[in-house]
Symmetry: C2
């Protein structure tokens, strides 16, 4: 821990011995105690000379290609870890570079400026000023910026892999995905991760997923401990779960009250529509559900955008300066002057990236989608073939053959999925995005499209090609219930068992611990797999709900039940079962928000056509004497009008609350004024 004032509460009781930390070179930073933030896990066979070289590099000043951080060799010089922390001035400068907003003395959130640091609150106490997640991210970020200033050998490493070119980023240390990573290839570094703070973690857990805490989540504490990426996921999950209440309520009403009651009323009225089988809602119920679903999904997304922007303001990420920061590790380019910031860095023309995306990535993604469709067609074809054969022969062998098409399809789909994931990652690397967020967005979009297509192609096929609504209803119900059972199993039951099993061992260990052993223990946990799977799950849910809800009105009820446990399960998982992840400050959910928005539009179309196809509506129209062609024309009209209404609604609801807009414009105005005041 480091502080100038001593007013801050000492949260960590046991820390690494102070004297073995490297010394702070900066005169303004007086460190009494240094907080362990990030652990660098070295290979077992690393030479002490290499370790010493790495430590000296980490603590060297930026002018000398170092990271200006503090390093601790663990127990001794031969150990296979380096513990890293940062001095105050490195934190403050990085805060400005990231463009984080912090509390000004007048309680406003203002973009932090190192020059003006004394006017910000808590600027003397890094534990108050920056959240734990921010501090760890800053350390990672500084490690990523390590650069070899001249060609040199890595001491203690054999010649071949151990040569660093001038200006080569030594690091990509923490960027686990960067394959070309020099030090990893050279066998020096095995891994790098932020360390958990057990006391804060237990604290957070008590407020988050204990028995007492059922409504709401401690979002600010999550943001502070896990960072805004994770906090945005849980905020969204929370918001989404609450938003499910109205459609769940409507679904219950339509299923249990109206079909009986509504049917009776219908029979009394001279509507001519009979409610003979009740495994689906009535025509009017159908329509109510479809229109409601459209309005609901629009409102949901628009209100989330507002919530998201006010969270972003609260967390100081409204004004991030990622564009003006250095490029992400892994970015390739010819060295030149960045025309915007005037700094020396690799450059890569935007149009070339656009070309790569448009002319290579897009067609390849399309190709894979085509392969999914091909697989599905093959499956249906094969099934028909086998079924015909079985009906003809009726032997045991042909009976066994019946399983062949679906097994082949499963194998095909899995293989395709694996190949696609590799291709998507390689393509996105090759597209050579400058910013990490841009990289993530493009990668996510690719995987998303495929996953989505893979999951919904069958349902769309049943709905629009076979036009078999009862089958769709059954398939939807079984998918929902099956998915949820699986989820509950993997996300609640398994963690619970693991916890009972782990916590015993854990408690024993707690008795005779040293700070170093505690850190070491975290290495045994698996790395956090990211929120990708969680978001995909939500998106698929939302898809089932908004695309097909008018077929199966109970969808929302099932999802609501699922999500209430999901929140706690996810919370438990991220706290207990994995290493702490690095988390970049972000201002929104990024591409996921767009995905939900796009799904909202697709849902209008889907609901319109489902409504049109539903046998009741067709019956109703036929009895009304309307020709099939005219029904379709009416449906087209309705679809276009609904989309127009949706667009007008989305336009009318501002994406950020007024007070956030005013704050944002204040910042813009101030920076315009500042630009006017200074001579260039």
């Amino acid at each position: 821990m480091m502080s100038l004032g001593d007013s801050s509460v000492q949260i960590q009781t046991k820390v690494l011995p102070q004297d073995s930390w490297t010394q702070v070179s900066c005169p303004c930073c007086v460190s009494k105690q240094v907080e362990s933030l990030v652990l660098i896990q070295l290979s077992d066979n690393v030479q002490p000379v290499t370790k010493r070289w790495l430590i000296s590099l980490i603590e060297a000043s930026k002018r000398h290609g170092g990271a200006a951080l503090l390093a601790h060799p663990g127990e001794d010089e031969c150990g296979d870890v380096i513990v890293v922390s940062a001095p105050r001035c490195t934190f403050l400068k990085a805060t400005e570079d990231l463009g984080l907003c912090k509390k000004y003395h007048n309680e406003d959130m203002v973009a932090f400026s190192y020059h003006d640091r004394d006017n910000f609150s808590n600027v003397d106490d890094m534990q108050e000023f920056l959240t734990l997640a921010e501090r760890q991210y800053i350390v990672k970020n500084e490690l990523d910026s390590l650069q070899a200033q001249k060609k040199q050998r890595i001491p203690g490493v054999p010649e071949a892999p151990g040569v660093l070119e001038a200006w080569e980023n030594i690091s990509y240390l923490s960027c686990l995905c960067a394959v070309g990573q020099k030090l990893v290839r050279a066998g020096v570094i095995k891994d790098i991760f932020p360390v958990h703070d057990q006391q804060r973690l237990n604290d957070l857990g008590r407020r988050w997923y204990s028995e007492k805490q059922i409504w709401g989540q401690p979002l600010d504490a999550i943001q502070s401990y896990f960072g805004s990426t994770v906090a945005f996921y849980f905020s969204f999950l929370d918001f989404y779960t609450w938003a499910l209440v109205p459609p769940a309520f409507l679904g219950l009403v339509l299923t249990f009250l109206l079909p009986g009651g509504g049917g009776v009323v219908k029979e009394q009225a001279v509507e001519g529509v009979m409610e003979d089988d009740d495994d689906g809602p009535s025509v009017s119920g159908h329509m109510v559900q479809a229109v409601f679903s459209m309005l609901w999904s629009t409102l949901f997304i628009e209100l989330w955008k507002r919530r998201s922007s006010s969270l972003s303001h609260r967390w100081g990420t409204l004004n991030l300066a990622e564009r003006f920061a250095g490029p992400r590790p892994g970015f390739q380019g010819t060295l030149g002057l960045n025309p915007e910031t005037g700094r020396l860095e690799p450059l890569f023309p935007e149009w070339q990236r656009q070309l790569r995306v448009g002319l290579v990535s897009l067609p390849l993604v399309g190709l894979f989608m085509g392969l999914v469709v091909l697989g599905m067609t093959g499956f249906y074809h094969g099934e028909a073939l086998v079924q015909g054969f079985h009906q003809d022969s009726g032997s045991l062998f042909s009976g066994a053959l019946l399983y062949l098409p679906s097994m082949a399809h499963i194998v095909y789909t899995n293989m395709l999925g694996n190949v696609y994931h590799t291709v998507a990652m390689q393509l996105t690397e090759w597209e050579n995005h400058r910013e990490e967020s841009s990289f993530q967005n493009h990668h996510t979009t690719k995987v998303l499209l495929f996953t989505f297509f893979n999951n919904f192609a069958v349902l769309f096929h049943i709905a629009f090609y076979k036009q078999d609504l009862p089958l769709l209803r059954k398939r939807l119900a079984s998918m929902l219930i099956g998915n949820q059972l699986m989820n509950q199993c993997t996300e609640v039951v398994v963690p619970f068992i693991v916890d009972r099993f782990l916590s015993a061992a854990h408690k024993k260990e707690q008795e005779d611990n040293l700070e170093m052993d505690k850190l070491r223990a975290q290495r045994s946990l698996p790395p956090f797999p990211g929120l990708f799977a969680e978001y995909i799950e939500l998106l698929l849910q939302f898809g089932y709900l908004s695309l097909f809800s008018c077929v199966y009105p109970l969808t929302a009820v099932l999802l609501l039940l699922n999500n209430i446990t999901e929140i706690r399960g996810d919370a438990y998982k991220i706290c207990k079962l994995f290493r702490k992840p690095f988390s970049a400050p972000v201002s929104n959910m990024g591409v996921w928000q767009t995905a939900f928005e796009v799904l909202g539009f697709v849902s209008v179309m889907s609901n319109c056509w489902l409504l049109l196809l539903s046998p009741r509506v067709q019956e109703f129209c036929l009895e009304g004497g309307i020709s099939g062609k005219n029904i379709i024309l009416v449906a087209i009209l309705v679809e276009h009008v609904l989309i127009l209404v949706k667009m007008i609604l989305a336009f009318m609801i501002p994406d950020e609350p007024d007070w956030v807009r005013i704050k944002r414009e204040q910042i813009e105005f101030n920076s315009m004024q500042a630009l006017g005041q200074q001579k260039l």
Copy 2:
């Protein structure tokens, strides 16, 4: 003319006598000669005391509620004009407030800063530094900001209308639409307009619409003389005319080459489609035209956006600070501190405006559209009725009655249009927009929707309800040719005659002129009616072209011919026939660009359904054995796919060229840096 250095060319040879201008109070401004920029036309019966009061107000400093301008009483104190100009420091401060970019000493375009003024090029010579249009707009803007600081009587005006409340904007002087305008109501000011500079104007005319100048327009000179609003219109007209070449070429090929040649090929091939009547393109021609039209309209808009942003950079309007300027005259609100800029000004909450737009304006506009449809229905109904009656009786009276429905319809449409225009203006006033551009956009959108609906409802009715494509083709051709003849008449022939007639009188006058008489002569010209009608004309053209072009492929050819003359006609009109308009610096075409974009989307739908309805396609499908229902489903699919393609295309083409993006981000980076450097 005013200059510190004397290097600038003296363009005006005769100027008002120097000694009767009010004196510059600012010590930095040494004025040798003052340029007449704006003319305030007073009422005939204004008292000299009122005129003196107004002059003193205009030249008073801003702290005293004045405009810090220079005023000239014309010939004497009793005359009914005041000529206004501005000193250098007023110009420079206003340039900063507007957020105009000017050339820095390193040739970059940089947002002007008064503080840093010495580093900008030409800052000593206002005639070089600001364009004529900018200088005149600044004078207007300053006049608009006149405020009464305490309650006072206007001298020489009877009690009742002549009292100014404290903080009441005296002016709205130049805002001719502001009905509540105090001084106009009080009968002091009749009008206010910028004066022409005959020599520059003749110069511009020579380069613009003389016989020698056929290709291209002197856009920079137009921007400099008439301002960016006008320059953007002519740039767009130019761009659009060139863009018409490919569809015109395709139209010619389809009409004159393919129906014959293509038909022969078709008959040789075993396609089964016979080209028996040739008053329309073939099936494949149809398809080519529809798909081409979709791609063309997307590319056209996207490329225009790029052109527009590079023009905006060239003209220094990329970074306008309208949001941070004072509210527009006519804006109502309770006096308070603007939360963004911290200035005292009227405030009006954004959500209230949104509510007014959403809950009152939108439904009312919808109502009027409903009335248009009602009128059309009534017309068709009445016509059928009268025709039936005529067939039954066959008398002369019933023959005359045949004209009744269309006459009634014309009267109805005209009345509706007039009422609507008043309502639209009132509604937009009542919506209480803070910025002039927002006001204009909302007003334009309202009028646009109505005009568009009014013009295209009949065509849509024929196309999609009656499904009578030959009638549509005939109607389209007659509308196009009729409109063009009217245009040529009003925009080329009439101006030509007027010019012959006027120029004689004009030349005579030139002989014995004084500067003051020249200025006075401009009062006789009618005020410039704005570019609204011109843009509407282009938009309707674009509508005919993109919505229905696959029905009548020669549309583009006719439009191309029309626009080549249109450019010169419009140029002549704005130069010779009207008073010079005020022109605010703008960074794009505003809502017109959006209108063209929306039309592009509607055109995809329209073309898809027209294709579907075309008898050839229907025939073709029937012979192919495809049911009517399936054709429609295919058409739906095609429509959705085409819209998707269009959206991807629009997304892939960046809205601004790379170099403009870099310049813009440079500005952002610099202002972020500047904000970091300064203490708040």
